[in-house]
Amino acid sequence: MTGEEQPVGPQNDVRWPNIVFAPSPANRSQLVKLFASEITIRQRLDDELISSICQYAGLIHGAIPGGYPSLPEAFALFRGIRRPMVEFERDEAIHVYVTNPPVDFVFVSTHQSNGGPQRVSPPKDSVFVIYSDFSQHALDGLRGNGDIEGVIYDWEWVLADPGNSSLPDGFSERYAERIW
């Protein structure tokens, strides 16, 4: 794949694999530091959900060959997941970054090595979303990361809206409000 422009801004560093930069909810032209939940990463690795880990490595962190950190170019940000809730504040606090990367990543194993992420074409009619929490509740769970502003809990490709292929299907019913 050639010709795609790469996002610019602070580069995510392989020395800190859980830390990534994303546009601020308050000002999309400013980047803030997010922390990918240790529990999420560990569960994915322990369950051998390799494609999901490759998507984190390639599409969110990006510090791999051919990586495409898509957060700095996020198309939209929504707040509040509409679903049956027990902890009202928690679902209201979830923010959903919507990105449209031109690539996906899958795991390719080889005989010579342990294998790794490989760049492939993205799923059709889909957008890539990243779920983050900016609440104090989420930040209280972090150890000694004073300048972290949010926590990433999940990420996935979702079907795109038939009327707007850059947004998730049913976005107006799924989320409480669009931040930008």
Binding site: V14, R15, P17, N18, S37, E38, I39, T40, I41, R42, Q43, L45, D46, D47, E48, L49, I50, S51, I53, Q55, Y56, A57, H61, A63, I64, R82, R83, P84, M85, V86, E87, R90, D104, F105, V106, F107, S109, S113, N114, G115, G116, P117, V120, P122, P123, D125, S126, Y131, Y153, D154, E156, W157, V158, L159, D169, G170, R174
Partner: protein, 145 residues
């Protein structure tokens, strides 16, 4: 070898993936959802309703898993009806994880696939009915040709 994958494993106290996937059902507390996946691959999420999302293979038209969302909410509702204690939550989650890997997951996916085909059929039928009402002026046909 990918340094970032090694670092992710080290920093998050996990083992590096070795491409030995087996179908899983797992509860993710931070998103309060139960994931069932019977094939390790990139997938697209298709939200059916606030409780259920089905997962389609990223390239092929086949279901590879599903997500049950708001699991804690369901438990809280059941708690009062069934007089459950809080310490019943994790065993209940485990029971459903086992059931999903057993055969429940496959049954739910087959049902979701059948429902989708019926929904598509309805949409096509609606589109056909609409098309019958549209009359295209002859000039437009000439332009199209």
């Amino acid at each position: 070898m990918t340094d970032l994958l090694d670092r992710l494993a080290t920093e998050n106290r996990a083992t590096r993936p070795k491409d030995r996937f087996e179908p899983i059902a797992r509860y993710y507390p931070e998103m309060d959802l139960l994931l069932f996946l019977n094939e390790e691959c990139s997938y697209r999420s298709d939200r059916i309703d606030p409780f259920l999302t089905v997962l389609w293979h990223s390239k092929d038209e086949r279901l590879v898993g599903l997500k049950l969302k708001g699991f804690r909410f369901i438990f809280e509702q059941a708690k009062s009806i069934l007089e459950l204690r809080e310490d019943a939550f994790l065993p209940l989650v485990k029971a459903i994880e086992i059931a999903l890997v057993g055969s429940l997951g496959e049954l739910m996916m087959k049902r979701a696939e059948k429902d989708r085909i019926e929904r598509l059929r309805d949409r096509y039928e609606q589109a056909k009915q609409l098309a019958k009402k549209i009359s295209v002026p002859p000039d437009e046909w000439k332009r199209a040709a």
